[in-house]
């Protein structure tokens, strides 16, 4: 009964979404206040019904209602409660429902927190978000209904993929979706502005905090996914350039370009149409990401053929959203005039370069991810793009980007004296370059150019960011929250780059065959294998190895990697054990039992790997700080500011 209510609620939500996308737009064109003011209640009603539907599916998982196909496929009687709740978004249908729920939440957030938005603009924004919602609910109702029943009802269900039974992965999809869907707000603002033909600095000020929040969620979501892969997959890597990862990375790259471009548009009124284009692009990448991960196209391009309805719908929806918004852009962007002037050496130019670099990176990832799919779809052959391609591309774009990041924030708007900037930073440049090259030289006693440059870049970004901060403090300039947020995020980039460089160069890993009592030395740590024991978990049985780690003749820790067999699954799962500290991780993963009581195992020494995620956390907090800036909450003063910017840039 309850699943039917859930299904029914979804149908009502669909009807409401249609109303929300059409009626307010009719209102704005006919100038009828009653129709315009329908946008908010419609959005609220939609949230209510999508929420009910979501609750119904969650309920089905909690009470083990295996008559629902989706539940029987992704949970069973022994699955812990936490993983039954998270199983809702464990696969295609349910994750679409979560997507839609999050979209409703963002819509309501816009309706509540943007009280100072003109009614007409608000109506358009909510209508555009309603259209996206209509598309997603239709997709569920017509091709991927999570409430589909199965008869006869199985006594027990399959299990959620054990890989997904990890606290990191409980949070990863919702956070990622908060980011993906969050870009729909910037997209809706852009489309609404194009519809109204009015794009000014206030438009940028309205979209900017939303975009930054979405970007922060996406950053932490991706970082959590990377952290999960490191912990759970037993491969010890933190990024694999897997198409699934790339799908989340592309919106992040465009989103990062967008938040920087919005800065120019808000402060100086320049690059308006470019910013609008980026907003459209960022959301298009989010949609593409959702779909290539969720449609099964990655498993096989021919999966489209096994379920043509899904494939056709996905392509159709992408064409309508991306094509429609681009057509609108082409039609309307001529009316958008950027009036700000700036000299060749200015903050504006620096931000423009930032955008070019980020889009180059996006293109590189896009080509590497999509080209094999296209080749396969046309039946020309089966290829894949190796990791070295991505690594090469990112070191290539990384160098100019990090160099620019160091000086960009201290270059003045409109125009600056380049010799002043060069004078200020020459010393910093030399110091970071020498120190960066010297560190690997002292460790290895030979020149290591790539590691040296990586460390030099990290030092350069850290030092210049701090220098700018301290020079502002000493000049007694007021430090706004958005400035401090930027400083923290940029400092996070430095931490991230240092972590990546050191981990990549100085990690040691070894696949071993160990008998109980044997030991192995790796980077000054002695791993002593004591033996294995059986361990019973809530829904699995495991072989657990006991490995003592000795350093300098003292016992410094114990690693307990497991090989688990989950009930209902025949294949074992590796659960790695990691000894974590700020400066290094020691990592052990258990392979399989060999003859004579021996086990194959993999041990790692990973210096500074925590810094990678620490850097991402700093970027996320930086984003959150930037959003808390007072100017986004002021309503009256906005108008004054607007006049000032208009006067200044005229």
């Amino acid at each position: 009964m309850i699943p039917e209510l859930g299904h029914f609620a979804l149908i009502i939500a669909f009807a409401v979404a249609i109303v929300q996308s059409i009626v307010p737009l009719v209102g704005t064109s006919k100038n009828q206040t009653a129709l315009i003011s329908l946008a908010r209640p419609a959005a609220l009603t939609q949230l209510l019904f999508v929420g009910l539907s979501y609750a119904a599916l969650t309920h089905a998982f909690i009470v083990h209602d295996f008559s629902v196909l989706y539940v029987s496929q992704h949970s069973n009687l022994v699955q812990p409660l936490m993983y039954r709740i998270s199983a809702v978004w464990g696969s295609h249908e349910g994750s679409l429902l979560l997507w839609t729920l999050i979209l409703s939440l963002w819509t309501i957030a816009v309706a509540v927190y943007s009280k100072n938005l003109p009614e007409i603009l608000m109506a358009r924004v909510l209508a555009v978000m309603g259209m996206i919602s209509t598309g997603f609910i239709a997709f569920m109702l017509f091709t991927s209904n999570p409430f589909e029943r199965i008869f006869p009802t199985p006594l027990d269900g399959n299990e959620l993929n054990p890989l997904l039974q990890d606290p990191g992965l409980v949070l990863h999809p919702p956070l990622l979706y908060m980011g993906y869907v969050g870009f729909s707000v910037a997209f809706a603002f852009a489309v609404a502005a194009l519809l109204g033909g009015k794009l000014d600095a206030t438009w940028a000020r309205w979209s900017r905090p939303w975009t930054t929040v979405a970007w922060s969620f996406l950053t932490i979501g991706i970082a959590l996914g990377s952290w999960w892969a490191y912990n759970e997959l037993g491969w010890g890597g933190w990024w694999f350039w897997d198409p699934v990862e790339n799908a989340s990375f592309m919106p992040w790259l465009v989103g990062t370009a967008l938040i920087h471009s919005l800065a120019s548009t808000e402060k100086r009124g320049v690059f308006k149409s470019w910013t609008v284009l980026l907003a459209i692009l960022a959301f298009s990448m989010s949609l593409l990401g959702t779909f290539i991960v969720r449609s099964g196209v990655l498993v096989s391009v021919h999966a489209f053929a096994t379920d043509p309805a899904r494939g056709v719908f996905i392509l159709g929806f992408l064409v309508v959203v991306v094509g429609g918004s681009l057509a609108l852009y082409a039609w309307r962007s001529a009316t958008v005039i950027s009036f700000g002037r700036f000299q060749w050496f200015s903050r504006e130019t620096a931000l423009l370069l930032n955008n070019i670099i980020f889009l180059t990176a996006t293109t590189a990832v896009f080509v590497g991810t999509m080209y094999p799919l296209v080749v396969d779809a046309f039946g020309v052959g089966k290829i894949s793009v190796g990791r070295p391609y991505f690594d090469t591309m990112f070191s290539l774009v990384g160098i100019p980007l990090l160099l620019l990041l160091g000086i960009g924030p201290s270059i003045r708007w409109k125009g600056d004296d380049w010799s002043r900037v060069v004078r200020t930073y020459t010393l910093f440049f030399i110091v970071s370059l020498v120190a960066g090259l010297l560190i690997p030289f002292m460790v290895e006693e030979k020149l290591n150019l790539s590691t040296g440059l990586g460390l030099a870049a990290a030092l350069w970004v850290a030092l210049t960011t701090l220098k700018d901060l301290f020079s502002r403090i000493s000049r007694k300039l007021k430090l706004s929250m958005s400035y401090l947020g930027m400083v923290l995020a940029h400092f996070g980039v430095a931490v991230f780059v240092a972590g990546v460089t050191v981990t990549t160069t100085y990690s040691e890993e070894k696949d071993l065959r160990m008998v109980p009592g044997s030991s192995y030395n790796i980077s000054g740590y002695e791993f002593r294998f004591q033996g294995t024991r059986k361990v019973q978990g809530p829904n699995y049985i495991a072989d657990e190895a006991v490995i003592e780690v000795w350093s300098d003749g003292e016992l410094s820790g114990e690693l307990l990697p497991q090989k688990r067999v989950y009930s209902g699954k025949s294949n074992p799962m590796t659960d790695a054990s990691i000894d974590k500290t700020f400066t290094r991780d020691l990592y052990a993963a258990l392979g399989e039992e060999l003859d004579g009581g021996a086990w194959s195992m993999r041990v790692y020494y990973k210096p500074l790997i925590r810094w990678i995620w620490l850097g991402c956390i700093l970027m996320t907090i930086g984003g959150a700080l930037a959003v808390s800036d007072r100017r986004y909450r002021q309503t009256v003063k906005n108008k004054v500011l607007e006049k000032n910017t208009a006067a200044a840039s005229a």
Partner: protein
Amino acid sequence: MNRRSRRKVLILAIVFGVAVATVLGLTAFEENLLYYHSPTDVKAGKAPTKHTIRVGGLVVDGSVNRAPDSLKIVFDITDNAESMSVEYTGILPDLFREGQGIVAIGSIQEDGQFVAQEVLAKHDENYMPPEVAAALEASGKSAKGATEHKPQGTSY
């Protein structure tokens, strides 16, 4: 330099930078394209030696041989038409077992032995790597499960 010529220099620099990035990118792309070959291709000598490629197939029952004192392992994979031997040293993925479809990345040595740097058998136990499924279909001996596979999208 006056303002206008500076702007020209700036634009030229950007165009130059993007062009360099494109050339280097395409070169890196070309070098890192991994082509897939089925055991039938390899047997027919269609696969290059000493060049990184991907091969795939089902692990032949009873073909898995481990060295007694190291992590070296040799096994056969088949597309049900032809089979080939794969050598690998290291830890195999959890889902590796006889009868399972796998993909291996590595190169054919001068003596004709394929040595893998990486063996992939991810996703769930009902999963069939698409290349393997296609190769099985091409050889006309489609294994059960290969064509019935419906994507569940359980991978993140």
